[in-house]
């Protein structure tokens, strides 16, 4: 009678200690994220919190959420825990937007043109790309692609796009593993409007904090 009782007792205590350990890990992670956010919020510039659990991107400044973007689908591949903050180094897009130049009329004395002549051709959010890659430091990159919405064909296109990017990133992971270089890739599919708006709102050299499942 004593042996089964002892067994149950030991098993329960083990289970409880495991739970408290997991709880500890969770709290430690939360503290780490808070530390990172407090560091980023100390600067008067915007920073980005990429929450892969809630599938949201938050653009923040001084702890204030300025804008939320929805992620329709996401995938992470790579080695590491993403428990640091990452700085934006570069943004790569095939169709990068270009600014337009104001051409002043030939200099004339005392003849004024209307100040509304520049109203056309402004550089707006519609000019931004919906497919691009954010290159961050410490081997992290975030690929943002447009999630097609509509009929069956477009859903198939989403699926094919996801599988091809998985294959490409897996190959890159193997290559990085052999070369012993860091590699973490986050793939985020967003609606066209959100992808463009996120590109538009990205602060230069923004700090990125990533939240994902342990």
């Amino acid at each position: 009678m004593t042996v089964p009782f002892l067994f149950v007792f030991i098993w329960c205590s083990n289970a409880l200690s495991d739970d408290s350990n997991i709880q500890d890990i969770k709290i430690k992670r939360e503290t780490r994220l808070l530390e990172l956010e407090a560091k980023a919020a100390a600067q008067p510039v915007g920073y980005v919190v990429l929450d892969l659990i809630k599938k949201k991107i938050y653009l923040k400044i001084r702890g204030v959420t300025l804008k939320e973007f929805d992620i329709v689908d996401s995938d992470t591949i790579g080695i590491g825990q993403l428990n640091e903050s990452y700085s934006l180094v570069n943004v790569k897009a095939i169709f990068a937007p270009k600014r337009k130049e104001i051409k002043p009329p030939a200099q004339k004395k005392e003849e004024k043109t209307s100040s509304t002549t520049q109203e056309a051709d402004s550089y707006s959010v519609e000019d931004m790309p919906s497919n691009y890659t954010l290159i961050l430091d410490k081997g992290l990159s975030i690929s943002v692609s447009q999630h097609f919405k509509g009929n069956f064909l477009l859903s198939a296109l989403n699926y094919a796009n996801k599988k091809m990017s998985r294959l490409w990133n897996s190959s890159k992971l193997l290559w990085s593993y052999l070369k012993k270089t860091p590699f973490i890739k986050v793939v985020a599919a967003m609606s066209k409007d959100d992808a463009r708006a996120f590109y538009w709102a990205l602060p230069e050299k923004a700090e990125f904090i990533i939240i994902r499942q342990p």
Binding site: N21, Q23, D24, I25, I27, K28, E30, T31, L34, E37, A38, A41, A42, P44, V45, G46, I61, R62, G63, V64, L66, K67, I77, G78, I79, G80, Q81, R99, K100, E101, I102, P104, P105, Q107, K108, K109, E110, E111, K112, T113, S115, T116, Q118, E119, S122, Y123, S124, V125, R166, L167, S170, S171, L173, L174, Y177, A197, W200, A201, P203, P214
Partner: protein
């Protein structure tokens, strides 16, 4: 018999190329699937093993750490983060949507359609190295001045853009009535001000300032004070 052979030959000639092509497609697809599976499986094992290693290391470290210390630390960081949050009304400007929000805590008290920077650029034809990019500034700002019936002191670019000569007399730069009834200065020559071109509200057309409609501007002007935080993104 001859007829049968000739018919059969014709059929074989047309079918064989199709069958050959199909075979190659099936081969290519099979190879692709095998490569796909192998690469994915290898990537999965590399990823899983490395993550498990980090997890175990972290677990061992955590066992030593007292839970109370972590909770205390958490509270301290929360406190320092919340101290950064504006206590009073603050202004948020979304340059993508050209909307201004007057907020307090998480509540939107008022919102208005505005015009922000056009993002275009201008080069001085006489000095090529002088260039202006007409973006609204981004980041955190404070209301530094509150002006009733502001007068615009035209900068050099305004004359260059119009194609007129830059005046030598400073007084020739003043232009009344173009900035509306009120202006909130946020530093570096940028203002939240009124406009004559109300039909352009909602479009990015300015030289960097934030143009607001007359009625909206009055409300924002009254709600803001010197030191009110302005966040532009």
């Amino acid at each position: 018999m001859n007829d049968y052979n000739s018919i059969n030959n014709i059929d074989n000639n047309t079918e064989y190329p199709k069958r050959g092509l199909m075979r190659w497609i099936v081969y290519a697809l099979s190879i692709f699937l095998v490569v796909f599976s192998v690469i994915n499986a290898m990537a999965y094992f590399i990823q899983k093993n490395s993550n498990v290693a980090v997890f175990k290391k972290e677990e061992a470290g955590n066992a030593k750490k007292a839970a109370n210390d972590i909770t205390k630390k958490n509270k301290k960081i929360y406190k320092s983060l919340s101290s950064l949050f504006p206590k009073d009304n603050y202004i948020v400007i979304d340059t993508a949507k050209n909307i201004l929000y007057l907020k307090n805590s998480d509540k939107v008290l008022y919102q208005a359609v505005v015009s922000t920077g056009s993002g275009r650029f201008l080069i001085d034809p006489n000095k090529q190295e002088r260039k202006w990019v007409f973006d609204s500034p981004r980041g955190e700002f404070k209301v530094k001045s509150k002006i009733v019936e502001p007068v615009w002191v035209k900068p050099d670019w305004a004359f260059i853009e119009e194609g007129t000569n830059i005046p030598k007399n400073y007084n020739d730069r003043f232009e009344e009535g173009v900035l509306g009834d009120y202006a909130l200065g946020i530093g570096n020559g940028y203002f939240i001000h009124g406009t004559l071109y109300t039909r352009l509200l909602g479009k990015p057309v300015t030289h960097g300032c934030i143009r607001v409609g007359d009625n909206d501007l009055k409300i924002v002007y009254k709600a803001a004070r010197i030191g009110t935080k302005v966040y532009i993104f």
